[in-house]
């Protein structure tokens, strides 16, 4: 990779050969002309939808759409502008008609969050429609998944015939399609795939503005993966170039949905801002984008006694029926100079006006092998009520050296603590600390109307999955022992000589018996 001085000097020397050549060729083909006024054949639209979810979490959905008016499969030499070269080469090399790839960490909880804009299963999902010119679909599918695993740093190369299916009803082409012969469809899911920064980085590189300008500035990996749900996807499909659909264009949609746990990040408040979620603000639009917008769901604007305030106030709103319900969105157009110009950045904030309940939740998540979980809640319980606090946990396998010598006994979880000030039946009079009996003076009591109680629950014994540490060696030893025992006795039986021992005059037992007989006066043996 070292560029040397000699190299440069030779560029200059090499010019002597190239110069006349270029001029000569120009004379031959010069009037070919420059296509100066040719309109751009590709365009980029980007948008971000922020939806406060019923559970108090906040969902953010990015979509970047690149449209390219080109017949990718027909042109030998390919020239790319906004459309990423890596994916374009795939389309032409493997004769793809459609490609849908998603990487998801977590699960979209429809019951709490409502229906999603973009659905994806946990793990990695890939489904592809090939052109009907492809002769060996399975081979192309295998090669394609290998290449994609290289592009996105994912384990897609584990896709093989054991986890590939050809659905016949469910996965219709999303784009233009004349006929749908299911022979050309392949579908695979890898549920184990863990999505992480190394998958996000190549995904970001496919964006024309990378992560330098526009909405993609917000895509900061350490925030995006600090969420309850993360799903990124790539969709490629052919679409109509114009209303009459005389020719096709290629559409690449890169989507990313995340759900921020507003309760954890916002210290129990449901308010959010771009900076708090992404630790970035929007500074400039992507100059390549023809449309760049942020939508904020403000449907609950004046309902349920809850009012919310969006800051800065939106210039326009947009109303439509989305997923069966009427929604209102505030629109911020980044290409509109007034949106950003005021303070050189745009930090959209949303505040709930109704004061939150008088409560306090402190949660400190655990770090593996460093610190445990800590969950503290300050709650006011109504009288005669039952309050249940439940915590879900996952059973994990420890490292094999971390198991106790008695691993099947289980692992203890320390008891939970309930500290309460209980109203007293009878008002106690304030007592003098030094005078009162010792049993009454450990916990200070501020006034006589209530007293302090601290309750502990039982420790919890959790059974963790325990591996059988010695199974393989046990099996080997057992089998070998059985074989050895059979063999040994067989061997002895065949090689030893057996003969009847003649009773000899002597022997310790006989002498002892005779001694006793002599004492008893009985005839000897």
């Amino acid at each position: 990779m070292g560029a040397s001085a000699a190299g440069k000097a030779e560029v200059a020397a090499g010019m002597a050969a190239a110069m006349p050549l270029a001029l000569f060729v120009l004379l031959l083909l010069g009037p070919g002309g420059w296509c100066l006024a040719e309109p751009q054949r590709d365009s980029l639209r980007e948008e971000l939808v922020i939806t406060p979810l019923p559970s108090g979490d906040v969902a953010a959905t990015f979509q970047f759409r690149t449209r390219w008016d080109s017949e990718l499969q027909r042109e030998g030499v390919s020239h790319y502008r906004l459309f990423p070269k890596a994916l374009g080469q795939l389309i032409s090399k493997y004769s793809l008609r459609e490609l849908h790839l998603s990487f998801t960490q977590g699960f979209w909880r429809t019951r709490y969050w409502g229906p999603p804009f973009l659905q994806a299963p946990s793990g990695a999902e890939l489904w592809v429609w090939f052109q009907d010119t492809v002769t060996n679909v399975d081979k192309s599918w295998k090669e394609l998944s290998n290449v994609l695993s290289g592009i996105f740093c994912a384990s897609l190369n584990f896709i093989d015939s054991t986890n590939t299916v050809t659905p016949t009803a469910s996965f219709k082409p999303l784009g233009l399609a004349n006929d749908t012969d299911h022979y050309f469809l392949r579908y695979a899911v890898l549920p184990r795939e863990v999505v992480c920064t190394e998958n996000l980085t190549p995904w970001k590189k496919l964006l024309p503005c990378s992560s330098k300008a526009g909405l993609s500035v917000l895509l900061k990996a350490d925030r995006l993966f600090h969420t309850s749900y993360h799903s990124q996807a790539v969709h490629i499909r052919p679409v109509c170039r114009n209303a009459r659909c005389t020719s096709i264009s290629w559409e690449l949609r890169q989507t990313l949905s995340v759900v921020f746990d507003a309760f954890i990040t916002g210290q129990g408040k449901k308010d959010w801002s771009l900076f708090r979620m992404f630790s970035r603000t929007l500074t400039e639009p992507c100059p390549l984008a023809s449309e760049s917008r942020v939508y904020v769901d403000i449907t609950n604007y004046n309902q349920d006694n809850e009012t919310l305030e969006v800051n800065p106030p939106p210039t326009t709103t947009y109303q439509d029926v989305i997923l069966g319900t009427r929604k209102t969105y505030a629109i911020y157009d980044l290409l509109d100079t007034a949106t950003i110009n005021n303070s050189r950045n745009l930090n959209i904030q949303l505040k709930w006006k109704r004061p939150a309940e008088n409560g306090y939740i402190h949660y400190q998540p655990a770090q593996d092998r460093l610190q445990p979980h800590l969950l503290e809640m300050l709650i006011q319980l109504p009288a005669n009520s039952v309050t249940k606090v439940s915590i879900q946990f996952e059973r994990a396998l420890l490292k094999w050296t971390e198991y106790t010598p008695d691993p099947n006994h289980g692992f203890y979880v320390s008891p939970s603590v309930l500290s309460a000030l209980v109203p007293s039946m009878v008002a106690a009079k304030p007592v003098d600390w030094e005078e009162s009996p010792l049993f009454n003076s450990l916990f200070p009591v501020s006034d006589g109307s209530n007293y302090f109680v601290r309750l502990y629950t039982e420790p919890l014994l959790v059974n963790l999955p325990t591996p059988d540490f010695s199974m393989p060696y046990n099996v080997i030893c057992l089998t070998c022992t059985v074989v050895a025992v059979c063999y040994g006795s067989f061997y002895n039986l065949l090689t030893r000589t057996f003969h009847i021992e003649e009773p000899r005059t002597g022997g310790l037992a006989k002498r002892l018996a005779n001694l006793i007989r002599r004492i008893r006066g009985v005839p000897l043996l």
Partner: protein, 553 residues
């Protein structure tokens, strides 16, 4: 009764001994081979001796040269001796295990009538343009013309044409054949094989101290190459850059690659990358109010850009990158400085085996005219001149060492003369043979050293194919068939790499001996101990019974 009992016991003892011996025999004759057979790794046989023979392979590169004498080129009595053949052989001194010999086989003959006619008229360029017969790859034709012919300018002794022909001035002298023969060899070497061409081809296999990094500049030989032109626009807010890459590729790059198509498959792509910065902050020079990239900074320029370039997804061929960098407004104009601090005329540099970078400054007048972003039309002629020159360098098509007083024709419109292509094919064939030999040798070494590696039949057949292809290629080189030799050498490389990188070689590699013992001991120990003990007992008893008769004596 006691005697009968003793006899019966003796019989029993003998039977027991026999049984023990039988057990031992079964264990050794049946058990051991069975265990050996069921646990052995499958290793197909390989031509080890042939592979080690390849190291001492003698490459004989034969260049057939047809020498045509026109009427007044040599004295008459010399002309009477024609036609005959002269062989000129020379060993090329390289510190390499292969011996390479260069052999020019000169077939002398008299000119035919139409050749006389063509050569007698006009200048050399015209005479060469309409060459009637097609010549085979690698062969050369040298015309010897009369001493006073006006075909060449008076001070020139020889002329190298754009195809596979050359013209040499004859001489009226007693030793005419010797003198002309030397001139012909000079010209033929320049057109086909010289020491430095081969040294560059074998740069990877030679000790580093002798051959500089410069020799390692050309791309390694491969079946195909991908050429990617990238326009880097780090500041799309200020510059709206347009380039007519489609037209430029069609006009300048494609003809060159078509001429080069014998050397491999080529594919061309282009892309535009926005917000792609160089990794180095240029130095501001207030005197000229421009920015400079120092030469020692250039290596750091490439790395940050490369992560954006994207590896080629669709093929495994090596990629050549050509980057056109339009510096951002805050850093323009930007110039590359050489060692002495002077700006480089082309404002470009190249990186060995990687590609080239050219900095394209926007005309400063454009900023005054209109608001940002400024529309920039790239002058593709200027850019492609540089990129094509770099492309030639990266393919190892260097300027030949022209003998003194020799006129060199300009390149054809494609930018590549036919003999330059031949020279490339010679070098690539030798390089391929060296690569394939090295691969096969190290594979054989590896397999010999580690006995756990499985050798499947398909690996073995690839090895056999590679060995056969190397031998075929060497034969074809020796008989002067360049085209088929090159094809065979490519096959040798493909097959040898296919064998070397076969995943089945790795299957059983990690199976250490202590694990084997842990598995075998619980079975083998209880079975072997009784057999050994009874064998020892039998041995002791027989020795005792042999000694007893001695004592009675």
């Amino acid at each position: 009764m006691a005697a009968a009992g003793a006899a019966a016991t003796d019989l029993e003892v003998v039977r027991g001994k026999r049984a023990a011996l039988f057990f031992a025999a079964v264990a050794i004759v049946l058990g051991l081979p069975l265990w050996w057979k069921t646990t052995e790794t499958y290793r197909a046989s390989l031509p080890y001796s042939q592979i080690s023979g390849l190291n001492a392979l003698q490459l004989r590169l034969m260049v057939p040269v047809t020498v045509v004498f026109t009427r007044e080129s040599v004295p008459l009595d010399d002309q009477e001796k024609l036609p005959f053949t002269v062989v000129h052989e020379r060993e090329i001194p390289l510190k390499y295990k292969m011996k390479i010999k260069c052999r020019f086989q000169k077939a002398y003959r008299r000119a035919l009538d139409y050749e006389e006619e063509a050569l007698s008229s006009g200048s050399a360029q015209e005479a060469m343009l309409d060459e009637p017969q097609e010549q085979a790859e690698g062969s050369l034709t040298v015309y010897v013309i009369s001493e006073h012919s006006s075909l060449l300018p008076q001070d020139m002794m020889s002329y190298i044409g754009p195809k596979r022909t050359a013209v040499v001035r004859g001489i009226m002298h007693r030793e005419a054949f010797n003198i002309i023969g030397r001139r012909i060899i000079q010209v033929a070497q320049a057109m086909s094989l010289t020491e430095d061409v081969l040294a560059a081809a074998l740069a990877d296999h030679l000790p580093e101290d002798k051959w500089s990094a410069e020799k390692r500049r050309p791309l390694k030989s491969s079946l195909g190459y991908e050429i990617t032109f990238s326009l880097l626009n780090p500041d799309p807010k200020s510059h709206d850059v347009h380039w007519d890459i489609e037209g430029a590729v069609r006009r300048y790059v494609q003809p060159f690659l078509n001429a080069l198509s014998a050397a491999g498959n080529f594919s061309v792509d282009s892309q535009i990358l926005y917000y792609a910065m160089l990794g180095v902050n240029p130095r501001f020079d207030s005197a000229s109010s421009s920015y400079y990239l120092d030469m020692h900074n250039l290596p750091h320029v490439i790395n940050p850009v490369e992560s954006r370039l994207g590896s080629s997804a669709a093929s495994l061929y090596p990629v050549l990158n050509f980057l056109l960098y339009v510096p951002e407004l805050a850093h323009s104009p930007l110039y590359i400085q050489d060692k002495d601090g002077a700006p480089v005329a082309t404002n470009a540099f190249h990186s060995p085996r990687w590609g080239g970078i050219m900095v394209y400054n926007v005309d400063s007048k454009a900023y005054n005219a209109s608001a940002l972003p400024v529309r920039v039309e790239v002058d593709m002629v200027r850019v492609m001149e540089v990129f094509l020159a770099q492309l030639r360098l990266l393919f190892g098509i260097a300027q030949p060492q022209v003998p003194p007083k020799c006129l060199l024709s300009g390149p054809k419109s494609e930018g590549l003369t036919t003999w330059e292509l031949d020279r490339l094919l010679w070098a690539r064939s030798v390089e391929n043979l060296a690569t394939a030999t090295t691969t096969l040798t190290s594979l054989a070494q590896l397999l010999g050293k580690i006995s756990n590696i499985v050798i499947k039949d398909n690996v073995a057949s690839e090895v056999y194919r590679a060995v056969a292809a190397i031998q075929k290629s060497a034969e074809e080189l020796a008989s002067g068939h360049l085209a088929s030799a090159f094809v065979a050498s490519q096959e040798a490389v493909t097959s040898s790499e296919c064998a070397f990188f076969d995943p089945s070689l790795l299957h059983l590699l990690y199976f250490p001996d202590d694990q084997k013992f842990a598995i075998y001991i619980p079975l083998f120990l209880p079975m072997a101990v009784p057999i050994l003990l009874s064998l020892v007992k039998i041995f002791l008893e027989t020795r005792k019974s042999w000694k007893k008769p001695e004592k009675t004596d």
